[in-house]
């Protein structure tokens, strides 16, 4: 019933959207206000239906209705509320719904604020994109053809060939498959929605550009389009930042950026949108670059749809760690992309002849030229990244079955372009606020250049930079920071609302500095012996058993429990054990790694990396572990580490393997085990702690015995108060074995039952005698491997300098763009 309603409302929204688009089209063509009114109602109706459909989807997720494929596939009944809500956008279908919802909210805003003559076409194109998006979740089938994939389809519809469903079509699983453990993170709550806000907002400049072409009004559209484009920009940047931060602090990707296609998918539209912002600003100021503004506005949205196609059509599934697999939407996505591109570029070239072009060419040293060239740099960076991301398609020109490009491809091409862009930001800003010729510009730039040189030299000396390329890069980045700061200082004294642009440019320079420091000067934390080994490998001195030269270095830090190691003469690092208590995920261990300054002066700190079993993919015989790194954030550098292995994890794996072998019916194994139960007799003094296998056993004291439990004839009865601790962990169990002597037929008998050790089969401790001379006791321990096991942990630890600077640069960029939103929004509002 709910499934039917859900499909009904989605398709009602779909139909409303089509009707609204038709209405807006007529309104845009004929300027009939009646059609505008009707279409607004239809648009609102579309939103209303979609909100109901979304509420239904949320309802079936929250009430665990596992007969729905979406609910079964992305949730389970033990999920916390926040992750149940996140599951809404955990899959493709739901994420399309979120995208459309934001797009509708934006449509309401456009309806209110957009003025003639652009209003009709803008709303038409926005609704048109919503028609395409809604078709992805419609789920209507016409004959053999299925339009989209509905989030409300049942298991039977989703998996028609599953045998158990054929025999019993109404079968409902007990529980769902659950959300991927890696997605169970608070970041999952906010990162995807903000990304879709950015995607939805980036539609707006596209709509305005199309409206400009339609209505042949090529100049004024940039005014209302600017705040929206800036807003899309801030949203995308925030989403990119959150994604990077998430990857860095909770996934063990080792960094904030990896040129993964999915990351690129949000970065390229941002670059093209930013290029568009630059040309729009000079178009507004000087009535040039009309063509470029339109083209960038179109391309930014095309990039969003293209990257959506790449990540959702399954085409990248070989090359990305987190791309979607085809839901059968391949053709629909191709149609969507083709339509957006052909309509956009088609109309552009149709109108090309009448588009205003510049009479006189801009001089090299003019704000028009510099800003335009800056936009071109951003465009070229975008182009390089699109090319790299498209390797599965474009690479076929070169080889069959192409692999993704090496990471160096991206770095080598974006770095010089970024250097040029950084230099241009300063020249552009110095020319932007004042007309200057070469001479006055040179005079104006004297001090910024001088300070830049000093800052660069200082950085080179302090940071021990040897690479000449890095030196040039540093110079450009410092120039961007200092040059733009000078302009910003001047603007603040005149009119602070105008600083958005310069602030963003300062942020860009800071970001460049942070990127170089954090990626090129990343250092593994290793102890001396490993370093020597790695140096020997570099010299080619290490060979393997067959006499071949080894080339792979060791990048691990191995620590034994409570045996500190000195690293780089800077840190004394100690593994202090682990805890299983109060963990968010079942079975999770939290390790304690203590860092102290090697010379004893200064602050010490503890990092707590975690390891947990992935419940969604583990089985009883095979536990799959996942890691959660810990980061110590600092102004100068971060220390980042995660646990690659530990004695605890090893032992649990062994146990799982043995248990699996037993279940397979290898009964001889357990029989021999029975015979060879280890028995160990030990003496222990009061207050003493001794090592028994993997445990530490402490004998605290004796304890009185409640007489009622004993036979009347008992003459002596005493309990030993023991504490059994897994070495390295802080979880211990109290064990209180009894020792008693009673009289039977005038003879003394002892009664001392073995006490089982919780959690271990066939393991027990028996209190066998008391040594009256010193108060010590004798114990008999059964079923524990007596070999003293060493507790260890294997870490991957890195020191990453100046990650904080990367974040700072990002925040400055966001702040700059946000100030610009206010400035342009304010101006637009006053106009109306």
């Amino acid at each position: 019933m709910i499934g039917f309603l859900g499909d009904l409302f989605i398709n009602a929204a779909f139909v409303s959207a089509i009707l609204a688009a038709i209405g807006y089209f007529i309104y845009a063509q004929n300027d009939t206000y009646k059609h505008f009114k009707i279409s607004n109602w239809l648009f609102g109706l579309q939103g209303f239906f979609l909100v109901i459909a979304s509420a239904l989807l949320l309802y079936i997720i929250l009430t665990h209705q596992f007969n729905f494929y979406y609910v079964y596939n992305y949730t389970s009944s033990d999920l916390q509320l926040k992750y149940l809500i996140s599951a809404f956008w955990g899959g493709q279908e739901g994420s399309f719904m979120v995208w459309i919802l934001f797009s509708i909210i934006i449509g309401l805003g456009l309806m209110k604020w957009t003025r003639e003559p652009y209003r009709g076409p803008v709303l038409f194109f926005l609704t048109l994109t919503q028609v395409f998006l809604l078709s992805m979740v419609s789920g209507i089938s016409i004959g053999d053809f299925q339009l989209g994939a509905s989030p409300f389809r049942s298991l039977a519809e989703a998996m028609p060939n599953a045998p158990f469903l054929q025999s019993n079509p109404d079968f409902v699983p007990q529980d769902g498959k659950g959300l991927n453990d890696l997605l169970k993170s608070p970041w999952m709550m906010i990162h995807p929605p903000i990304l879709f806000v950015g995607f939805a907002m980036m539609t707006v400049p596209y709509c305005f550009a199309m409206a400009a072409l339609w209505k042949r009004k090529y100049n004024e559209w940039v005014n209302p389009a600017l705040p929206w484009t800036l807003g899309a920009n801030v949203a995308l940047l925030t989403a990119i930042f959150l994604g990077g931060y998430w990857a860095y602090v909770t996934l063990s990707f080792g960094g904030y950026w990896a040129w993964d296609p999915v990351e690129n998918a949000s970065f390229v539209p941002w670059l093209l949108g930013t290029a568009g912002i630059h040309t729009m600003i000079i178009q507004r100021k000087s009535s040039t670059s009309q063509k470029a503004s339109i083209i960038f506005a179109i391309l930014a949205y095309v990039a969003i749809v293209y990257e959506t196609f790449l990540t959702r059509s399954g085409i990248l599934s070989d090359s990305s760690v987190h791309s979607f697999v085809d839901l059968g939407l391949y053709n629909q996505l191709v149609v969507f992309m083709g339509a957006v591109t052909i309509i956009g570029l088609g109309l552009f070239f149709y109108r090309y002849k009448e588009l205003p072009s510049q009479e006189n060419e801009s001089k090299l040293l003019s704000r028009e030229f510099m800003t335009f060239a800056g936009a071109m740099m951003l465009f070229l960076i975008g182009l390089v990244i699109i090319l790299g991301t498209s390797s599965p398609i474009i690479g076929r020109l070169f080889v069959e079955n192409p692999t993704p490009p090496e990471v160096s491809f991206y770095n080598e091409w974006t770095m010089p372009l970024a250097i040029i862009a950084a230099l241009m930001t300063v020249l552009g800003q110095f020319l932007f606020w004042k007309r200057q010729d070469a001479e006055s510009l040179a005079a104006d730039l004297l001090w910024p250049v001088a300070i830049t040189c000093v800052a660069t030299l200082a950085t080179i000396i302090i940071g021990d930079v040897r690479d000449i390329y890095y030196m040039v890069y540093l110079l450009a980045a410092w120039f961007a920071v200092i040059g733009n700061s000078v302009i910003m200082y001047r603007l603040i004294r005149q009119k602070p609302i105008l600083i958005g642009g310069t602030l963003s440019h300062v942020g860009f320079g800071v970001l460049l500095l942070g990127i170089l420091a954090s990626s090129a000067y990343n250092e593994m934390l290793l102890d001396e012996s490993v370093k020597k080994y790695n140096a020997a490998i570099e010299r080619g001195e290490i060979t393997d058993e067959q006499g071949f030269q080894k080339t792979q270095k060791v990048d691990f830090l191995e620590l034994k429990l409570n045996q500190p190691k000195i690293i780089d003469d800077r840190y004394k690092v100690t593994y202090e054990g682990y805890t299983l208590k109060n963990q968010e995920r079942p079975g999770q261990q939290e390790y304690r790694i203590k860092f102290e300054p090697a010379d004893g002066n200064g602050e010490q700190f503890v990092l707590n990396p975690q390891v947990y079993p992935m419940l969604s993919s583990s089985s009883q015989s095979n536990i799959q572990w996942s890691v959660d790194p810990d980061v110590r954030t600092g102004m100068m550098s971060d220390i980042y580490l995660y646990v690659a292995g530990s004695s605890f994890v090893e032992r649990r794996n062994e146990e799982a393997k043995e248990a699996a072998a037993e279940r397979r019916g290898e009964s001889n194994a357990s029989a021999t085990k029975e015979d060879s139960v280890q028995v160990q007799e030990i003496s222990i003094a009061r207050g003493e702690t001794i090592k028994v296998g993997e445990f530490d056993l402490t004998f605290n004291d004796f304890q009185e015995v409640d007489n009622q439990q004993l036979k009347d004839s008992t003459i002596v009865a005493i309990r030993a108060n023991l504490k059994l601790t897994q070495r390295g962990s802080d979880s211990s169990v109290p064990i209180r074995p009894l020792f008693s002597i009673y009289v039977k037929e005038n003879e003394n008998w002892t009664y001392a039952p073995p006490v089982p050790i919780p959690g271990y089969d066939d393991a027990s401790i028996q209190f066998t005698s008391v040594d009256p001379s010193n108060g010590g006791i004798d114990l008999k321990i059964r079923g524990i491997d007596t070999k003293v096991e060493e507790q260890w942990v294997l870490l991957v630890a890195e020191e990453k300098p100046f990650i904080s600077v990367v974040w700072l640069g990002t925040f400055l960029l966001m702040a700059g763009f946000s100030i610009s939103i206010f400035r342009h929004w304010d101006r637009e509002r006053k106009k109306g």
């Binding site: 079964y72 992305y74 899959g91 493709q92 989703a158 998996m159 060939n161 045998p163 158990f164 699983p173 007990q174 529980d175 498959k177 959300l179 991927n180 997605l183 063990s252 599934s317 070989d318 090359s319 987190h322 791309s323 697999v325 839901l327 070229l380 182009l383 390089v384 090319l387 790299g388 390797s391 690479g395 020109l397 070169f398 080889v399 069959e400 079955n401 192409p402 692999t403 490009p405 090496e406 491809f409 080598e412 091409w413 071949f548 080339t551 792979q552 060791v554 990048d555 691990f556 191995e558 992935m614 969604s616 993919s617 009883q620 799959q624 572990w625 890691v627 690659a644 294997l794 991957v796």
Partner: protein, 133 residues
């Protein structure tokens, strides 16, 4: 034609051809273990051979396993990092590195997993059932 236009066209053509040339060099094609001999940064696609020993060795600090490529060649693969999450789950592996003396030294490894994004196939579905009920 104006000289500026010509310079512009040359710059665009130069940039594009350099970019495409470099792009062409930085991608390669997926190969099998035999073809990978003598290559640097060879990408080999295959499946984990779970019938043979695998695991992380504490002595060498390496994870090693046997992999069968798409043409049926089985080779030992050595990976100098911890065993990746999802290793056993992956239905396809891509190892990137070089072949030496019949051992593949992987510097990087990608796993194609039947992940949450994927449609549940029947086998997976059946396996998931008994432990739950």
């Amino acid at each position: 034609m104006k000289p500026k236009l010509i310079i512009g066209i040359i710059a665009i053509v130069g940039f594009t051809s350099l970019l495409m040339y470099n792009f062409g060099n930085s991608i390669s094609t997926y190969v099998n273990f035999e073809q990978a001999a003598g290559m640097e940064g060879a990408h080999v696609v295959g499946q984990w051979d779970d019938s043979q020993e695998y695991g992380f060795s504490m002595e060498t600090k390496q994870f090693s396993f046997y992999m069968e490529d798409e043409d049926g060649n089985v080779r030992r693969v050595v990976y100098p990092k911890p065993k990746p999450n999802n290793f056993e789950e992956a239905d396809q592996l891509v190892v990137i590195g070089e072949m030496k003396n019949d051992v593949f030294y992987a510097n990087d490894m990608l796993m194609k997993c039947p992940s949450k994004y994927n449609n549940a196939d029947e086998a997976e579905f059946k396996r998931a059932m008994p432990s739950k009920s």
